[in-house]
């Protein structure tokens, strides 16, 4: 093979993989030394954002570290595209329509009370989250009407 061909072939074979390799080696080194990689690191999220993303481990971590499962949290671009929504963890769980998430938050300290049961049941009905609606209805009588209850997302 002529010299120019040998050089060009060597460069085109080695250059793209080496560039990617250097980038991910830097990312890997950062991950091993600081705990988070350069590429696709964990992003800080609120408790309700974690619920919206079905991030069960993050939900448990935040509550274990002291996050209150009974107050409202800001939720950006999860329940409503490019918008902030302020909801409680149980309301966020209704938005996911996942009963297991709802039960998880209750098991980890969220209070299902006569005060929030009506709202949650109405949200669940409007979201067609029938499992969650049934779960709430099994503990508190379903409300006669959902008039005035509007989904915040």
């Amino acid at each position: 093979m002529r010299r120019w061909m040998t050089v060009a072939l060597s460069v085109v074979l080695a250059l793209p993989p080496t560039l990617v390799l250097l980038a991910f080696a830097a990312s890997g080194t950062t991950a091993l030394t600081t705990g988070q990689p350069l590429f696709w690191p964990a992003q800080p999220v609120t408790l309700t954002e974690a619920i919206g993303m079905h991030d069960t481990a993050e939900i448990v971590r935040q509550i274990a570290l002291g996050a209150n499962p009974n107050i409202r949290y800001d939720t950006w671009d999860i329940l409503k595209r490019y918008q902030h929504v302020s909801v409680t963890p149980l309301e966020a769980a209704v938005a996911t329509r996942e009963q297991n998430l709802f039960e998880m938050i209750v098991a980890h300290g969220a209070l299902l009370t006569a005060e929030n049961a009506r709202t949650l049941h109405c949200f669940a009905v409007q979201e067609h989250a029938t499992d969650i609606a049934a779960y709430v209805a099994a503990r508190f009588p379903p409300p006669a009407s959902c008039d005035g209850v509007q989904l915040p997302w």
Partner: protein
């Protein structure tokens, strides 16, 4: 030294130093990149925690081994139990640092695999180094590679098989001696008693011997064959284990997938057709990146009205690389014989054939992960041979354009490994959210020691946040596929 290991090397030994250092530097970069992503994956819960909980109360490693002999009617993996127990003990000895031990083990095993790959490739010239850079991207970019690291049970036994098979090939390349024979036998026994696919070590040794490598002697090959026979005797004759049959687990078929019940309904009386499909499609998966897990995902994507770039990148890069490997295998070396008889191509063919046969009952990318490793090695020798061509200028220019396309595509694919491992980390961590459920204390481990270890593992997994797939940019799905 066989032909496939000596092309293009410089005449003087002193000239090796620069390329050798560069080759090991590439290997080190690959290992660090891999380790960084692998170490972030928490210890897995499914298929893993039950093994950990089972081995903790056992009185000794021997007891764990004996338990592994008898705890399944189809599987014979006693060293899995022993390894798990040893890692748990090591974690305890380090003050409850189980993540460090389990995930450090996988990161180190990944580094070992990369080191063996670099060793086996034996880059001795700068053109070899260029071929090695592309081959490392092929190694890590293969869709089968992620299966070596993404899951663990709690130790990934596919990784043990791949490392053992590559180490056996490295032994075959060595100067040999009784120590090399003994090491090869130990590797075979260790791999086979860790996982059934560990028997792949034997065809690697046989193919290397048949191609002219004498690092493992004829006597060593005979003894390894005796080990295989003893294994079969233990498995079938003594322990009465059975093989997998139709409906063992779900598998891909055509553009869709078949449940266990569907397989029995369609192929229960005539399983040969399903077996033939699985075997041929498994081999095709290594060569063409389709189907994956027996399923032609490209067809289902096409039917859904879109063809994301991931399919074009995967299929085109695999197709061109397979054409290159086939060209190399069917071309003639300086001695006039076809090059498929050389050590690397022949070992790849042996591993591919045996892996495909092992997939007869159901398709699974992990089963062919070792074949993927040898595919990358075969691509390396084929890429290296390109430099020996004497093309006219126009053909040389065309070759350079095609080479750039292929190496770029594999570079993109190799980046996808890290994305997949992020997905794996998220899933593995999510599993711990359901362990030690606060309102189901009756389901917690009864033994206080086991409970303490499981609690610590859970704490370690939950306290290390991972990126949620929902937070990843949408374009990652287009270029590396849906998870």
């Amino acid at each position: 030294m066989p032909e496939s290991m000596s092309i293009g090397g410089p005449a003087k030994a002193g000239h090796y130093i620069g390329p050798r250092l560069a080759a090991w530097a590439l290997g080190a970069l690959t290992a660090v990149a891999l380790a960084g992503s692998v170490y972030r994956v928490p210890i897995q819960v499914s298929d893993s925690l039950e093994v950990i909980e089972r081995v903790i109360p056992m009185p000794s490693a021997t007891a764990a081994f004996v338990d592994g002999l008898h705890n399944s009617p189809t599987m014979l993996r006693p060293l899995k139990e022993v390894r798990t127990r040893l890692l748990v003990q090591a974690g305890e000895a380090l003050g409850g640092r189980y993540h460090l031990v389990f995930r450090g083990y996988h990161a180190l095993a990944g580094a070992l695999l990369v080191a063996l790959f670099v060793w086996v490739c034996r880059a001795r010239s700068w053109t070899d180094v260029a071929a090695l850079a592309a081959a490392l991207a092929i190694l890590t970019g293969m869709h089968t590679f992620v299966g070596l690291f993404r899951e663990s049970f709690p130790v990934n036994h596919y990784l043990i098989v791949a490392v053992s098979a590559l180490a056996t090939f490295a032994l075959a390349q060595s100067r040999g001696g009784w120590l090399a024979d003994l090491a090869a036998i130990m590797l075979l026994a260790n791999a086979a008693l860790s996982f059934e696919s560990g028997l792949l070590v034997w065809p690697v040794a046989v193919a290397a011997y048949a191609s002219g490598l004498r690092g493992i002697s004829g006597r060593g090959i005979v003894l390894m064959t005796v080990v295989v026979v003893l294994y079969a005797g233990l498995r079938v004759g003594y322990l009465g284990k059975t093989g997998a049959g139709v409906g063992e687990r779900g598998t891909g078929f055509g553009a869709g997938a078949l449940t266990q019940e569907e397989q029995i309904a369609r192929f229960g009386n005539h399983p040969v057709f399903l077996y033939a499909y699985n075997v041929t499609m498994t081999a095709s998966s290594v060569l063409l990146s389709q189907p994956q897990i027996g399923r032609f995902t490209v067809v289902s994507a096409w039917n859904n009205g879109s063809l994301p770039p991931v399919f074009i990148v995967q299929i085109a890069s695999s197709l061109l690389t397979t054409v290159l490997v086939a060209w190399y295998a069917f071309s003639r070396g300086p001695t006039g014989s076809r090059r498929w008889r050389e050590p690397v191509p022949l070992s790849f063919l042996a591993v591919l054939a045996v892996s495909a046969l092992m997939s007869y009952a159901y398709a699974k990318d992990e089963i062919i992960s070792t074949a993927g490793v040898f595919y990358a090695a075969a691509a390396y020798v084929a890429l290296r041979a390109l430099f020996a061509l004497r093309p006219p200028a126009w053909a040389g220019a065309l070759l350079i354009v095609v080479a750039l396309t292929v190496s770029s595509a594999w570079a993109v694919r190799s980046a996808g490994l890290h994305l997949r491992l992020r997905h794996g980390a998220f899933e593995a961590r999510a599993g711990w959210a359901y362990v030690l459920w606060p309102t189901s204390r009756a389901a917690w481990p009864k033994d206080a020691h086991t409970l303490q270890i499981v609690s610590r593992m859970r704490e370690e997994a939950l306290l290390h946040p991972t990126v949620a797939p929902a937070m990843l940019p949408k374009w990652t799905e287009l270029w590396w596929g849906e998870d």
